[in-house]
């Protein structure tokens, strides 16, 4: 029971803090709906929200299928990026060779507009799942690896001096000092990467695909089925939002001290 009450209370608190934003959203939809009806704008230019909803509901299973495909690409590519970039960041931060050999390459590759590589992936890996996964991986990879390296290298000089007076060995030092100190940076990268993952999946589907939300988007666009274009965009945004918030929830669980520290800082500046 207390758990349920707590949940209810936190929901109320959530509504209270996000209430204004919700209200603006609702107002926006109302204004949109009314404006379209009053001015009589053509539906293929700007459909009212009600039409978007009814059209979407008619074909929601097609969209759901596409959403599932895109979600898989996002999750797989993102997971691969996390699994590769955090250990790589560790290696770069702790091995002089890796730092001198690999880090400059990473910095250089980061400058390449990754999306421009998408057509190449199609040539190399065909039309299937692989090129999408790789593009998601590529876009998420850089922010995660760069901020993780920064995190692992960020060791505060005074804290390290204190640690040296305890004679702590490498592994203890890593576990108790370096890793916790790196986590806020790593999570910053993870969140940026998560935000980019959905974009990457859609772009990859734009380039060549026969399924997924990006594919549907192009189809609807070609048919001037604007309500469905809107509906697809909304679903895409929702997927991106869910992935992002999932990372944020993990962050809250992993480094509550940092999150509350930021909250305190925000309170202080308000």
């Amino acid at each position: 029971m207390p758990g349920e009450q707590g949940a209810a209370r936190s929901f109320v608190a959530w509504v209270r803090t996000r209430g204004a934003a919700l209200l603006i959203f609702v107002a926006l939809f109302v204004v949109w709906e009314v404006a379209v009806r009053v001015t009589g704008i053509k539906e293929y230019l700007l459909p009212p929200p009600s039409t978007i909803w009814t059209e979407f509901w008619k074909r929601h299973d097609t969209v759901a299928l596409g959403a599932w495909v895109t979600t898989q690409e996002i999750l797989a590519g993102y997971a691969l990026a996390v699994v590769v970039s955090v250990p790589l960041a560790l290696a770069v931060a702790y091995s002089r060779f890796m730092e001198e050999a690999v880090y400059p390459v990473i910095v250089f590759l980061q400058i390449i507009p990754k999306i421009a590589i998408a057509p190449l992936f199609i040539i190399w890996f065909g039309f299937g799942f692989t090129p999408k996964l790789l593009l998601v991986f590529l876009l998420s990879f850089f922010p995660i690896v760069v901020s993780s390296i920064a995190g692992f290298k960020s060791a505060d000089a005074d804290i390290m001096d204190f640690a040296r007076t305890t004679g702590a060995s490498g592994w203890t030092l890593f576990r108790k000092i370096r890793l916790p100190q790196a986590l806020p940076h790593i999570f910053t990268g993870l969140k940026v990467g998560a935000a980019l993952a959905a974009t990457a999946a859609v772009v990859a589907e734009f380039v060549a695909s026969d399924r997924g939300l990006g594919y549907l988007l192009l189809q609807y666009n070609g048919q001037l089925d604007t309500p469905m274009v809107f509906a697809t965009i909304v679903i895409l945004s929702l997927i991106g939002l869910v992935v992002y918030y999932a990372v944020e929830v993990v962050e809250r669980l992993a480094i509550p001290w940092h999150v509350s520290q930021q909250a305190t800082a925000k309170d202080a500046t308000l």
Binding site: D161, F162, T165, G167, K176, I177, W257, H258, A265
Partner: protein, 285 residues
């Protein structure tokens, strides 16, 4: 000028510590900070100093005279450019671990509560934190943080953080205590109380203490000997024996020895231009 009984008591204490072997010894120590493309900084210049086992030694000196540098040299966190530092007979050529250290800034871990910040000292040493939990709580109580053990550093005031750092330096009961302006961020009242507590602790444990401070009063009230340093390049200007009987308590400020010592130190700073008698409003010629 002084009551003879006090004078003899004072001599007795000094004589007792005189007999103790040196625990920390600096001979001809110079520290020059070099950085590419920058002028080098001579932070310490030919410093000779010994701290006897069980002695409470304080260093006073103006900002930038090399006090923190000296402390880091003793801890082995910096190495001397020339000269030799020895602790417990061994040459210091790497970070020392048989000590407790309070840095000038609190240097706490943001992700740990106050209690866990105290315990990190024993965890990093590979000891079992559970065995030290009670002791950590007691130390937090002693520094006036009984109710703040579960707070994170960002929820503590500057002075509170400093007190956590003091507790952390004491938890593992090391024989050498290095304290760099440990009472720096404390209010006058807490400062006075914690000074009394530190003296009591020292009297009970007889650790060797190197205590850095800006406060002439504090140095005289706490230390057996006060080292007065001159502005850059840091040199030892004078070493004063403080003849105050212990425990010094709150009345020590009224003792003639206190006045004599603080005045002597003030004289030195006046002569060196660290202090100048007449007040000049800041911002005017």
């Amino acid at each position: 000028m002084t009551a003879p009984s006090v004078a003899t008591a004072a001599t007795r204490i000094v004589a007792a510590t005189d007999a103790s072997p040196p625990y920390v010894a600096l001979t001809g120590v110079t520290k020059v900070y070099r950085r590419a493309g920058r002028e080098e900084t001579r932070a310490l210049d030919r410093v000779d100093l010994t701290i006897r086992e069980g002695e409470f030694l304080a260093i006073v000196g103006p900002s930038g005279c090399g006090k923190s540098t000296l402390l880091r040299l003793v801890a082995g966190l910096h190495l001397a450019s020339t000269g030799e530092v020895r602790v417990d007979g061994r040459v210091v050529d790497r970070p020392q671990t048989n000590l407790g250290i309070v840095f000038q800034s609190p240097v706490l871990l943001d992700w740990r509560t106050a209690l866990a910040n105290v315990l990190v000292q024993v965890e990093l040493r590979g000891l079992d934190p559970a065995a030290y939990r009670d002791r950590a709580r007691r130390l937090l109580t002693q520094v006036g943080l009984a109710d703040f053990g579960d707070r994170y550093p960002h929820e503590l005031s500057g002075g509170m953080r400093k007190r956590v750092a003091i507790a952390r330096a004491l938890i593992h009961d090391a024989p050498l205590l290095l304290m760099d302006e440990p009472f720096g961020a404390l209010d006058a009242l807490t400062r006075e109380q914690i000074r009394l507590d530190l003296e009591a602790l020292w009297l009970a444990t007889r650790k060797t203490v190197l205590f850095i401070t800006h406060s002439i009063d504090e140095a005289v009230l706490l230390a057996d000997r006060v080292v007065v340093m001159s502005p850059r390049p840091g040199r030892i200007e004078r070493i004063l024996d403080v003849g105050l009987p212990r425990p010094r308590g709150l009345d020590a400020r009224r003792a003639p020895e206190f006045t004599r010592a603080t005045e002597a130190i003030t004289e030195i700073f006046l002569a060196r231009g660290v202090l100048h008698g007449a007040a000049r409003p800041i911002g005017q010629e």
